[in-house]
């Protein structure tokens, strides 16, 4: 146990320091190559570097490979391969805008290594009632889970710092849940995600110096989904991610088809004269989490971000309660 604690501290430090050290260089490199996008929520025209996915992937790979040298396991390999593939899907989308269906389908493909490596148990565990064995259905669940988690994080990446801050909260909650259910190996493998997100948040928070882009958002979402599967905490992981899931659900149920946010013509959020965010009164605009938060009145970008973080903390608390409930059987 002491070995695992020391390795946990080591890989957490590697994940954090790698992203913290690499990201400023990545910002400069992206800016020099004119790989910048406009930050539409700033009063003064501001261009922000994108994507930050490469520094996130570097942090994840560096720490997971170190973990693998200490404790080799196919679960870590599955995390590395699936996360890297999801990064490639996101990076392709960052470089060239691809269709609305491309990402879900390609992300479904990134889940195949999890199946091929056999790092899953075809049981779905629920609190209080125990688990249910669903061998065939579970394969579909694996294919379904990675795109859902990836797109959920991608869809919440709408304001400065939100995706990385949200992921920091959700992934640390997932680590705590894995410890509660005594799955220490996967808890260890989940640490880099929290520390990578935390280090990236330093540059992503208001005012952003870099955006994660699709490569960053899908990397975080796919790794989170893989951890949920290899750690057998699918339900708990979904609960910790509920604000992002709700955002996707609200969006899909209002537009009623799978499309990219950038394809939406009627914007759900507009600006006041002093450039605070305000819910749009356009009936054709999609309902999103940010629009609902703003329904009570205009807020600054930072204030909306903190409301989302409070929702994430609330979901994290529910996930931790659920993890404790896993120990109880009625």
């Amino acid at each position: 146990m002491l070995d695992k604690t020391i390795v946990g501290i080591l890989i957490s430090a590697i994940a954090f320091v790698t992203v913290y050290a690499i990201t400023p260089g990545l910002i400069n490199a992206l800016t020099k190559r004119n790989m910048v996008v406009k930050d539409y929520n700033k009063e003064v025209a501001t261009m922000v570097a994108r994507p930050g996915g490469p520094s996130m992937l570097a942090g994840i790979l560096a720490s997971e490979f170190v973990l693998y040298t200490f404790f080799p396991s196919t679960a870590i390999l599955a995390i590395i391969i699936t996360t890297s593939l999801a990064f490639l899907v996101g990076f392709a989308d960052d470089r060239k805008v691809l269709g609305g269906w491309f990402k879900p389908l390609a992300l479904a493909g990134t889940a195949i290594p999890i199946i091929l490596l056999g790092v899953y148990l075809p049981h779905l565990a629920f609190p209080l009632f125990g688990s249910v064995r669903i061998p065939e259905l579970y394969l579909a669940l694996i294919i379904f889970m990675i795109p859902v988690m990836g797109n959920a994080i991608n869809s919440i990446d709408v304001l400065n710092g939100v995706a990385s801050g949200f992921m920091t909260i959700a992934s640390f909650a997932l680590t705590i849940c894995l410890v509660i259910i005594h799955n220490y190996d996967v808890a260890l493998a989940s640490l880099p995600l929290g520390f990578v997100s935390l280090a990236f948040y330093k540059y992503h928070k208001v005012p952003s110096r870099i955006f994660p882009g699709d490569s960053g958002a899908l990397t975080m979402g796919a790794m989170y989904g893989t951890l949920a599967i290899v750690g057998h905490v699918e339900v708990i992981a979904a609960i910790a991610l509920l604000p992002a899931v709700i955002n996707s659900f609200l969006f899909l149920s209002s537009v009623k088809r799978v499309i990219e946010h950038r394809q939406i013509k009627a914007k759900p959020v507009v600006h006041t004269e002093d450039f605070r965010l305000m819910a749009s009164d356009d009936k054709s605009a999609p309902v999103t989490l940010v629009r609902l938060i703003l329904a009570n009145g205009p807020m600054t970008e930072k204030q909306v971000g903190f409301v989302i973080f409070r929702l994430a903390l609330f979901s994290a608390a529910l996930a931790i309660i659920t993890a404790f409930m896993m120990e109880i059987k009625i």
Partner: protein, 77 residues
């Protein structure tokens, strides 16, 4: 508190996940089909998968209704 209905919506979703899990584990999982020989296992899986899909669809419809109910004020804003 800002976003109070959203906290409530998350809580409702959480209770529905736990309740749905209970239904799945206690009622649907123990179901078993016999009398079709070698096809028992595959039929069993198909029936359970179909019930699970129906439950998910019902869950989504229910969440949609609850969403409209909770956010009625916000939606009309």
């Amino acid at each position: 508190m800002k976003g109070k209905p959203i906290f409530f919506y998350i809580f409702v979703m959480w209770t529905l996940i736990i309740g749905g899990g209970g239904l799945l584990v206690s009622i649907i999982a123990p179901l078993s089909i016999h009398g079709f020989g070698a096809f028992d296992h595959i039929l069993d899986s198909i029936v359970k998968a179909a019930i699970a899909v129906i439950l998910v669809v019902l869950w989504v419809l229910l969440m949609s209704r609850i969403k409209n109910w909770i956010f009625q004020k916000q939606m009309s804003h």
